[in-house]
């Protein structure tokens, strides 16, 4: 009796520690020639959305693949910069999605993904509404949804801006190095031209230039 009670307490504590997690948004680094897979256990009938965007690196593209518990590929795209895929889970089990940078030899990429499973948890976990929402409450709910989409747009905007900014910073350093390099090349080439030309004429001490004829 006490044993099962203790186990139950531990389970409930773990539940509290973990909480309801129904959406994951992560940004991670994908080194060159690497593949990173993520897994999630999904219950049948849940509507899920996978959205990803490449933030920095190379041509800003990555391979993405989503598989259901039986290994059937639900979504597969090569060298995509940004995409969004919605599906309804037709089976119970572990769904797997992978990002691959195996086609790239030396650029490592930063990838952002957002995997939403089902709906957000309700504000009151033990909510069992008997009455419908009042007007105020439903207004609050719609404002909440609108603000969520505002934040979603903000995230995408931030990622695009990060992309643009990293390109601009790359350009800045490239311009600096290239200018210095080109100035050095110019000087070296012009000096060596003169030195080379001089060397054509300095050996001929005995031979005078053929004048005329």
């Amino acid at each position: 009796m006490y044993g099962s009670f203790r186990v139950l307490f531990q389970v409930l504590w773990a539940h509290l520690l973990w909480g309801w997690v129904l959406g994951s948004e992560l940004t991670f680094e994908l080194p060159d020639n690497a593949k990173q897979c993520f897994y999630e256990d999904i219950i049948i009938g849940t509507k899920c959305t996978l959205e990803f965007q490449v933030v920095t690196g190379g041509h800003y593209d990555v391979d993405c693949r989503l598989e259901d518990p039986d290994g059937t590929t639900l979504y597969k795209e090569m060298k995509k910069q940004y995409d969004s895929f919605t599906f309804t889970a037709s089976k119970n089990g572990t769904y797997k999605f992978c990002f691959s940078n195996e086609f790239s030899t030396f650029t490592h990429k930063t990838v952002y993904f957002d995997f939403q499973v089902g709906d957000d948890p309700p504000l009151f976990p033990n909510e069992n509404r008997v009455t419908a929402l009042t007007q105020m409450e439903s207004a609050c709910v719609s404002i909440h949804e609108a603000l969520k989409s505002v934040m979603d747009y903000q995230t995408h905007f931030r990622l695009r801006e990060a992309q643009g900014r990293s390109r601009a910073e790359d350009l800045n350093t490239r311009v600096a190095f290239w200018s210095i390099g080109e100035a050095i090349i110019l000087l070296v080439v012009s000096i060596s031209q003169v030195v080379l030309l001089r060397s054509f004429f300095s050996d001929k001490k005995t031979t005078t230039t053929r004048v005329g004829s």
């Binding site: 009796m1 099962s4 009670f5 186990v7 139950l8 389970v11 773990a14 539940h15 520690l17 973990w18 909480g19 309801w20 997690v21 994951s24 948004e25 992560l26 940004t27 991670f28 680094e29 990173q36 897979c37 993520f38 897994y39 999630e40 256990d41 999904i42 849940t46 930063t110 089902g118 504000l123 009151f124 976990p125 009042t134 105020m136 409450e137 609050c140 709910v141 404002i143 909440h144 603000l147 934040m151 903000q154 931030r158 801006e161 990060a162 900014r165 910073e169 350009l171 800045n172 311009v175 600096a176 200018s179 080109e182 100035a183 000087l187 012009s190 030309l197 001089r198 004429f201 230039t209």
Partner: protein, 220 residues
């Protein structure tokens, strides 16, 4: 008061199959996995993880393994370490950003029993919540004794505050972007002028030098 065994069993089963376990991935023994969170300042981030070790005997992942630990290291945008701690097989870490920018959260396993790792697979469940997602609304409602409507409005207020912070951060980033673009513009302008000057000067120098050289050689 005493829960009957079947009821406890049902609850246990429900807890086991509940979908709240979230996203997980596999990590190797010495592998370090890093995640980036680009956040405005004064934003709270809570990360929770749970590890499971592959058991060769049962060919499945053990529910929890004592002695297994994860080292969590968090760096701020200036690559200064703001958190570097060892946690157990289940852990919860939290930090608040003081500078806006890219914070890096790195995890690597620091298992005390190396033999356990012979299979090579460690499953890590990870959940990182940022900003107003870190708020535990039922707790806030209980603490401040809020009605449902008040709680909803509080949630909206938190969301709007987060949006405001993000907009502020956006303004700061756009300023940095503009400075970088203007610096590139300046650099391109000055270096073009400088290179044209170098070209002209070296051309003139070459002609003069060769002319005096040929005159010395009595060729001209």
């Amino acid at each position: 008061m005493m829960l009957s065994v079947p009821a406890a069993g049902v609850l246990l089963l429900l807890a086991w199959i509940h979908p709240g376990d979230g996203l997980y991935f596999h990590i190797g023994e010495t592998e370090k996995k890093c995640f980036i969170e680009e956040i405005p300042d004064e934003t709270m981030v809570i990360g929770k993880y749970r590890t499971q070790l592959w058991d060769k005997q049962t060919s499945s992942f053990l529910p929890s393994t004592p002695g297994l630990g994860m080292h969590v290291e968090i760096k701020d945008p200036d690559t200064k370490i703001i958190l570097s701690r060892q946690y157990g097989s289940d852990g919860r870490f939290t930090f608040t950003s003081h500078t806006p920018g890219e914070h890096q959260i790195c995890l690597h396993s620091n298992s005390t029993k190396m033999a356990l790792f012979a299979g090579g697979k460690l499953r890590v469940h990870l959940d990182i919540q940022v900003g107003e997602h870190t708020n535990n609304y039922p707790e806030i409602a209980a603490k401040d004794k809020l009605t449902e409507l008040q709680l909803r409005v509080r949630q909206l207020l938190d969301q709007v505050e987060q949006i405001q912070k993000e907009q502020n951060y956006q303004r700061y980033r756009e300023e940095r972007f503009r400075m970088t673009s203007e610096s590139t513009n300046q650099r391109v302008l000055w270096w073009s002028i400088a290179q044209t000057l170098i070209l002209i000067v070296t051309g003139i120098w070459q002609m003069k030098h060769l002319k005096s050289f040929f005159e010395a050689k009595k060729l001209v």
